[in-house]
């Protein structure tokens, strides 16, 4: 599985890491970091940097909780210093499992291309379920015709 670092306001990162292990089982390559009210930007960056270094040269994906937050700002500072680091904002459980499971190539351009696809797909999973449940009645499920 890919190396993933979560950085969130408060304990969200630890909570979602636990939710993730509920689905995938134990994930050793996942680390959960938090900032609190009194964490400075410098401290947040330092924390991220130390964690990234612990993975060596291997690709690392940082996921932050909200684009407009200091978590993403700290990630952005760190991003510019490394060739092997990727930053995605908008943490949710579907996005996290995809980012852990999808195999990433060594080539940075190809890697970015795959990450772009994962982000797009994750965006599409945010759904107003009422619209699906209350929509037009579906056509009868086709029966024994052998088609999928």
């Amino acid at each position: 599985m890919n190396n993933v670092v979560l950085l969130t306001h408060g304990e969200f990162s630890k909570g979602i890491a636990q939710s993730c292990e509920f689905i995938l089982g134990k994930v050793d390559s996942l680390k959960a970091l938090s900032i609190s009210m009194d964490t400075s930007m410098i401290q947040a960056e330092k924390m991220l940097q130390e964690t990234i270094c612990s993975y060596g040269e291997a690709p690392v994906i940082i996921i932050t909780d909200i684009a407009a937050g200091s978590t993403t700002q700290a990630g952005l500072q760190v991003l510019t210093r490394y060739k092997n680091v990727y930053l995605v904002s908008g943490l949710n459980l579907g996005l996290l499992t995809e980012l852990l499971l999808t195999e990433l190539p060594d080539n940075r351009e190809e890697c970015l291309k795959i990450l772009r696809e994962i982000v797009q797909q994750a965006r599409e999973t945010i759904t107003l379920v009422n619209d699906l449940a209350d929509g037009e009645p579906e056509a009868e499920l086709s029966e024994e015709d052998g088609e999928l």
Partner: protein
Amino acid sequence: MITILRVDDRLLHGQVAVAWTNYYKVDVILLANDKMITDKTMQTAFRLATPPGITLSMKSLDGAIAVINNPKHASRRIMLITRTMQDAEYVCGKTGEAVREMLLGGLKSGEGKKQIDMNSYMSEDDMAVLERMEQKGITVFMQADPTSRRLDSSEIRKNYNK
């Protein structure tokens, strides 16, 4: 081809949709259940649970049999899912040697059932199905998610007879 047959009381949920489909690299999830094909809420729930890039096919037991026996899908990697051991046996009985591996998990508790694994319980009849599946040359095992411990059929039997 049927890459794996999963027997799971909830049919399709997070562990199956995310962890097992990734583990087996499947591109089709084939749900075989007679109740589901008339239950719109179940259908909506399963559509939501299907990961991007995977085709979901919801069929009655006989509908699933027709899919499996259609040579057109031979190159697809299909995860077949039934709710019970009995449904699984019915499908396997009419699809020749299409199913080679049977993965049990999330078998709910009930009257006369014994606990086999943390979240799985089996009845005497379930055990009889297991025997018959093995006689057909199908490998039967139990595992909740890909990183948890795999119980082979001898361990399933041992836990049942405890």
